[in-house]
């Protein structure tokens, strides 16, 4: 939108036209008692150079941007090829969003169709939609969809090891709809859902929702959860918050997921202080009519030319109203395009290469921490680019000390898991050099002590 400021002479002309002496006179119908009798206590305007300088100074307070970061927990620092920004900055991509008129939206419809195709391939699922807002709401919508499919069942099972903010979002979205949500508790040895907890899956279970790699970085027992879920006739809903993991780990399709969701932020989208991300939503074809969100379909026009449209619109709330699975009538068009550009740039092999780099760094870091510092690796089992360490001190104090060394050491698990007060979740990706990993270990040695 353009900004059209008014000059004093234009203001005078407008006032004269309507026969009013001053702008203040326009407020004369208001009772004098409610009028503010003094100037607002805000600074006067600045010149552009002054404003720039002020914003610069404020910007410097964002120390995180210049620190060495090992933060993960749902938002990951990967390398974003310049090509992504270059392409999405094109005005055709940057501004186009709502494709309700297919005649003039073929470009964006095709771009999002390709996004859907790539995500369906990445997840090895039948159908992917045009994207959701983020992984958390995608997970919530997946539960709502499952609830709509399994009309005779009442219980939703969710792994307690999923991202806690995703859990909060799911609870918010389902609070008036789902009868019961039960958590599958964690095994303190593995950092994954305890096997004994899987006995909770029964004939009243709507779905089993879990995340892999989970909040602690661990990969859940995919085969077992899948088998027990399907035996009970429940729907399997895996959540993938770190999409690059699918470069090396079993896909949701390979474990017979019914609905699979996640966030595509790791696919060429910067951390951006936590957002925007892009919600990924896929499902089996037999459930597609209950799937929320926009869906782009491929068809032919009356001349037989290939073209794209929004399809299966009767699912959506502007037609099904309160019977629709969801009221979403939007998508993250720009971020979905960015993710597609990243995937097209990297290709299958490139994505696999990136994932292997992540695995190797995590492995290196884990081994060094275990052998050279007083910290222990919290859980036995497989992880991807994230893992949890246990320090001989309070996690927040550890992280504060890291901060003084210019390092964002990770996430204190105790915020959502108070019993794990010395646990820190550490993430490493291909952007870290081995020198930076060594720097982390050296700092950890200084703060927490060396190996005994």
């Amino acid at each position: 939108m353009r900004y059209l400021p008014i000059t004093d002479s234009e203001r005078k002309e407008m006032l004269e036209k309507i026969g009013v002496k001053s702008v203040d006179d326009l407020f004369s119908p208001l009772p004098k008692s409610v009028l503010l009798k003094k100037e607002l206590n805000i600074p006067s305007s600045m010149s552009e150079p002054e404003l720039e300088k002020m914003m610069d100074e404020l910007g410097k307070e964002n120390c995180g941007a210049n620190m060495l970061s090992f933060l993960g927990g749902g938002c990951y620092r990967h390398f974003c090829p310049a090509l992504v920004d270059q392409m999405i900055s094109r005005s055709e991509f940057y501004t186009s969003y709502t494709p309700y008129q297919p005649e003039v939206s073929q470009g964006t419809l095709q771009a999002i169709f390709e996004f859907q195709t790539m995500i369906a391939n990445l997840f090895q699922m039948d159908v992917a939609n045009a994207s959701m807002y983020d992984g958390a709401t995608a997970a919530a919508e997946a539960v709502l969809m499952a609830h709509k499919i399994q009309t005779k069942r009442r219980k939703v099972l969710i792994a307690s090891t999923i991202n806690p903010q995703y859990l909060e979002t799911i609870r918010t979205y389902t609070s008036f709809v789902v009868d019961t949500i039960e958590l599958l508790e964690m095994d303190p040895a593995t950092g994954c859902v305890a096997e004994s907890e899987l006995a909770k899956i029964d004939s009243d279970t709507i779905c089993v929702l879990f995340q892999y790699p989970n909040y602690f970085g661990m990969i859940e027992n995919l085969k077992k959860i899948s088998a027990l879920t399907h035996e009970a006739g429940a729907l399997l809903i895996p959540v993938v918050t770190e999409a690059t993991a699918l470069g090396v780990i079993a896909t949701p399709g390979s474990i017979d997921a019914d609905i699979a969701v996640g966030d595509g932020q790791a696919l060429g989208i910067p951390m951006n202080f936590g957002g925007p991300g892009v919600g990924l939503f896929t499902c089996k074809e037999k459930h597609v009519r209950k799937m929320p969100g926009r869906l782009i379909g491929e068809t032919v026009d009356r001349n037989g030319n290939r073209c794209f449209v929004l399809t299966l619109s009767a699912r959506e709330q502007h037609i099904k109203r309160e019977k629709a699975t969801s009221n979403i009538c939007s998508n993250q068009g720009l971020m979905a395009t960015a993710a597609s550009i990243y995937l097209a740039t990297m290709g299958k092999q490139g994505l696999r290469d990136v994932a292997l780099m992540n695995l190797k760094r995590a492995d290196y870091l884990k081994k060094k921490i275990a052998s050279e510092t007083a910290c222990r690796i919290a859980f036995n089992g497989c992880n991807y680019n994230e893992f949890t360490i246990l320090a001989p001190m309070d996690a927040c104090e550890l992280l504060k000390a890291f901060g003084e060394k210019g390092i964002l050491g990770g996430i204190a698990a105790k915020k959502y898991f108070p019993e794990l007060d010395n646990a820190v979740i550490v993430n490493t990706t291909e952007v870290h050099t081995y020198g930076e990993l060594d720097r982390f270990v050296d700092a950890l040695k200084e703060i927490a002590g060396g190996a005994k």
């Binding site: 009519r289 619109s313 009767a314 037609i319 099904k320 019977k323």
Partner: protein, 134 residues
């Protein structure tokens, strides 16, 4: 006489569903000519499941077009015994032959009460006459 086809052997609901008595308290259900003409091009029909218990107040079937989603009101309490499998590939039959091949599903009831409570063909025809001004 309304302008719509109203076969005399069927009974009808105010929401334009027809019911055919197949004998032994088994009934076949579909939508009337009036409904078929008003609903437009049908793209999908969501049918109930076989062995599903249904009652005469519930919505167990839904007809979709590109732009709309119409709930079909079940008229006979009982158990669904058959569904029209043809509709999964050819939903448009419901519009083209609503009293014949476009039937929706069949219910096994334990009485004829629900059937008797419906309008006769004549009553429905009169009902449509009054509707048509809308």
């Amino acid at each position: 006489m309304s302008n719509y086809s109203v076969p005399s052997n069927l009974r009808f609901s105010e929401t334009h569903e027809w019911v055919e008595d197949l004998g032994n308290n088994k009934y076949r259900i579909g939508i009337s000519d009036f409904a078929a003409q008003h609903v437009g091009d049908i793209t999908y029909v969501e049918l109930p499941e076989i062995n599903e218990d249904v009652d005469n107040e519930s919505v167990v079937c839904n007809i979709e077009t590109v732009k709309s989603s119409e709930d079909i009101n079940n008229q006979i309490s009982g158990t669904v015994v058959t569904i029209n499998e043809m509709l999964s590939e050819n939903p448009e039959i419901v519009g083209a032959d609503c009293y014949g091949d476009g039937w929706l599903y069949e219910v096994q009831s334990d009485s004829d009460e629900d059937f008797k409570a419906l309008m006769s063909a004549d009553e429905y025809d009169k009902f449509l006459d009054e509707q048509d001004d809308e």
